[in-house]
């Protein structure tokens, strides 16, 4: 800064005497800054004094404003990020709760079925075995044995009624009436979004092709099938080392059908398992109910489609879901 325009006055002081080195425009501001330092030489113990008076107008208002705005913006961004994360966490929590609730319902259902069937079966077994013992008696107690056999038959019929009732509850004949055009690709993206925590945990980056197809489906049933196929793929991938996990998802429209293929690089499906894959209550999983894929298949066929499983030539399993294309609007 040139000496003439500098706002700082520099002086040497010694016992009240002042020697101005640079007069400077100290200004008339009310806020005075000064700085003193004694020179270290014993022969000349001068004080060096630098001083300046500050006024409101001297403050760097623009820079201060800029800094404040920048800080506020950064803070706002941080808060919104935190809010987003909390929302995401909540959504994940809700999803997990939903799954737990569904599992509990299934557990309750299984316990109920077990009870409903075990009662008549207990009676059938006890009656027939009692009849056997009565016939072994000497003399054989024919009348009582015959009555026991008759009661056993009644109870066998009761068991079969329970099964019939159960089938009518589980089968949903009205699913075909609720079909509507659905974007297969959008449904996949939705399912992937829900599974994102799981994908991240397993370090799986799903590869989703760019093609799409609009099919006729019942949205909830479709979501359930896709969710099931993707979770199965993830469980298969969890069994192989992290670096080798790939998940390829493709959507095509071919010959009047919309086709979704889900291919994982997991261990694949053993030959003896492959043939029984869609059987109800067949499971290879510890604690599995064996209902997932069987349900998916009946849902798919209820919507006029198919679900097929195969092993890939190199490695891993492929599930192919086909559903009728929606008629062009």
């Amino acid at each position: 800064m040139p000496q003439e325009t500098s706002p700082v006055r520099v002086m040497l002081e010694y016992k009240g005497q002042q020697f101005v080195l640079q007069p400077g425009h100290v200004g008339s501001g009310w806020w005075r800054f000064d700085f003193r330092k004694r020179l270290a030489a014993d022969s000349q113990p001068f004080d060096v004094v630098a001083m300046r008076n500050l006024d409101w107008t001297d403050l760097p208002w623009l820079k201060m404003l800029g800094w404040t705005l920048l800080t506020a913006a950064a803070l706002a961004a941080l808060l919104s990020l935190e809010r987003q994360r909390a929302e995401r966490r909540r959504a994940e929590e809700l999803l997990r709760l939903g799954q737990v609730a569904r599992l509990n319902t299934l557990g309750e259902l299984a316990a109920g079925i077990a009870h409903e069937l075990n009662q008549p079966l207990t009676a059938v077994l006890a009656n027939t075995q009692a009849a056997g013992r009565l016939l072994d008696d000497d003399p054989p107690q024919l009348t009582t044995a015959r009555a026991a056999m008759q009661r056993a038959a009644e109870q066998a019929r009761r068991a079969s009624d329970v099964v019939g009732r159960l089938r009518r509850v589980v089968e949903r004949p009205d699913i075909a009436g609720r079909l509507q055009p659905v974007s297969l690709e959008a449904a996949v993206r939705n399912a992937l979004y829900l599974l994102e925590p799981e994908l991240r945990r397993l370090e799986v980056k799903p590869e989703l092709g760019s093609t799409t197809a609009t099919i006729l489906a019942e949205p909830v049933a479709l979501e359930q099938i896709i969710h099931n196929l993707l979770s199965n793929a993830l469980q298969a991938l969890a069994q192989v080392p992290a670096g080798t996990r790939t998940l390829q998802i493709e959507v095509h429209a071919i010959a009047g059908k919309g086709e979704l293929t889900v291919r994982d690089s997991g261990p694949g499906i053993a030959a003896d398992v492959l043939s029984r894959l869609f059987e109800p209550f067949f499971t290879t999983r510890e604690g599995g109910l064996g209902l997932g894929l069987s349900l998916c298949e009946s849902l798919a066929s209820g919507m006029g489609g198919t679900l097929v499983a195969s092993n890939h030539a190199s490695r891993g399993a492929t599930f192919t879901l086909q559903l009728p294309l929606a008629p062009a609007a």
Partner: protein
């Protein structure tokens, strides 16, 4: 067996078909069966003094079989309780045994398994009743002894001879002999060995 009647099995299940068929099956081996549809009614009315066992279904409307089991145990009912269930979980099984169930069987139950379990339970109950009966009898007889006789009995159980007992109690061996004969009679003991086997625990318990 003590009772002139054959052992009585109480069968509690809300399902009529199950109740009838199991009652028939249990009857084929000569055990008497009393079937109950309602656990509350069973709890209120069943004969607690009878020899036998209780077969209890876990899943019943209104009150769980496990709750009935806990109430029976809390009441000091000594009949062994066999639990029956259609879908036993490990947790349920654990709770049943912890509460004092004698056995835990899954429906549908095989005849041989059920009948073997019942026979074993009945035998166990008969033995435990005999033991309680003997214990009570011994306690009653012991209570009839005089203070001096109890002292003498304590010293006999401790292994002292008549002469030593006389010295210890500062009486003549002849007096000891009299006390000894009297307490043998009161306790109904036929030999020294029997006396010690039946009363040692009581003597040690009272000192």
């Amino acid at each position: 067996m003590n009772s002139p009647l054959s052992p009585l099995i109480h069968l509690i299940d809300d399902d009529e078909a199950v109740r009838e068929s199991l009652a028939l099956l249990i009857g084929t081996v000569g055990l008497r069966v009393q079937a109950w549809a309602n656990p509350q009614e069973f709890m209120a009315k069943f004969d607690r003094s009878s020899i036998g066992a209780i077969v209890l279904d876990v899943r019943m409307p209104g009150i769980s079989g496990l709750t009935v089991l806990e109430k029976l145990i809390a009441e000091d009912v000594d009949q062994p309780v066999i639990m029956l269930t259609g879908h036993g979980t490990v947790e349920m099984c654990r709770r049943a045994f912890k509460s004092g169930a004698a056995e835990f069987l899954e429906k549908p139950v095989d005849d041989q398994q059920l009948l073997d379990t019942l026979q074993a339970a009945v035998q166990q109950h008969v033995r435990s009743r005999e033991r309680t009966h003997d214990d009570r009898d011994a306690r009653e007889r012991y209570a009839r002894l005089s203070a001096r006789e109890r002292e003498v009995l304590g010293l006999i159980v401790a292994g002292l001879t008549n002469k030593e007992i006389g010295r210890a109690l500062d009486v003549s061996p002849r007096t000891v002999e009299t006390h000894r004969a009297s307490l043998f009679a009161k306790l109904g003991a036929e030999s020294l060995a029997q006396l010690i086997r039946r009363y040692a625990a009581l003597v040690e318990g009272s000192t």
